[in-house]
Symmetry: C2
Subunit: 155 residues, 2 copies
DNA sequence: AGGGTTGGACAACCACGTTGTCGATATCCG
DNA sequence: CGGATATCGACAACGTGGTTGTCCAACCCT
């Protein structure tokens, strides 16, 4: 029944976690043991044009330092590389590598499979309604992924 | 439209954050500047019978050490107190204080107000459907609140 | 009595975020 | 042209909420 507002929050969080944990787990199986949601979302933003730490920070509504750290681990893991911008030598241009793109493709595929599963239990129109209602209520607010610890450990 | 599975995840997370951020912000206004979601949820569990660190850890699907830390900060802030269990001197019984109960009441009230707001934009039946669908899809899985950093700073 | 299990404490660590400061470039403007 | 100002990235310290691992004391069972 879930009459309480707090339960509603938990339900929402539960849905998110369910999805994302499944994706991370499946990505691990498919050869990306170090995929983390933050990294996924950051790569999306980078690919969509946030090609520097400061810019990435802005897009993700996060400090540029946090963005820089994320980029550092992305580079470390080979999902992204950087080169100094010849037209502005302060900047380092960030680009998603082939491996990075491969990861993104896999991630999207898994996400979509999961969504299809939901569509199966809710009905296609049920899912559409869920998404519409959710969108109505949360608005198009900036993303802000983070949600840090949620699945930091594999367990 | 949000056709992608990843967007669905973001929508869910967005909903959760929207709710919880508002609650924390409002609690701050109402005189609980140090209320954190983890604390709220932990208090609920304690009040519902998880009266020791180990037990709380189990209920929240979290290590007993993590639970102990949470209890420590709860004690520090005066929301909870402990006493050794006379019938088992290893245990420390945890109990929510009056101030803790007050906080919980406020929190619930705010959560419910927010839920009412949602009901206003979605319609009562729309919200009910949302909750039902969500419950169907996430199941009655264990809570696992955490979602750590999400609002660690007040900004 | 004596061994296994459980509760809590302590320490080290990880992931992700924050501020603050700094030097090096770019840009704007008088 | 040249100096003030803004921006970029780096580094450091810290906060929050997790994780392991180890340890001792207390409990329970045979």
């Amino acid at each position: 029944m879930s009459r309480s507002g707090a339960d509603l929050a938990l339900l929402l969080l539960g849905g998110y976690r369910k999805l994302v944990e499944a994706v991370v787990a499946e990505l691990e199986v498919r050869g990306y043991p170090d995929a983390r949601p933050v990294l996924e979302f950051a790569m999306r933003a980078i690919d969509a044009g946030a090609d520097s730490a400061s810019e990435l920070g802005r897009r993700l509504s996060v400090s540029k330092q946090a963005a820089a750290k994320t980029i550092a681990t992305l580079v470390e893991r080979g999902y992204v590389d950087t080169e100094v911008d010849p037209s502005d030598r302060r900047r380092k241009r960030v680009r998603v590598t082939d491996r990075g793109h491969a990861l993104m493709r896999e991630g999207e595929a898994i996400f979509d499979e999961l969504r299809d599963e939901w569509a199966r239990t809710l009905g296609a129109d049920g899912l559409a309604r869920l998404e519409r209602d959710l969108a109505a209520v949360v608005g198009d607010s900036p993303l802000r992924v983070e949600a840090a610890g949620w699945a930091a450990q594999e367990s």
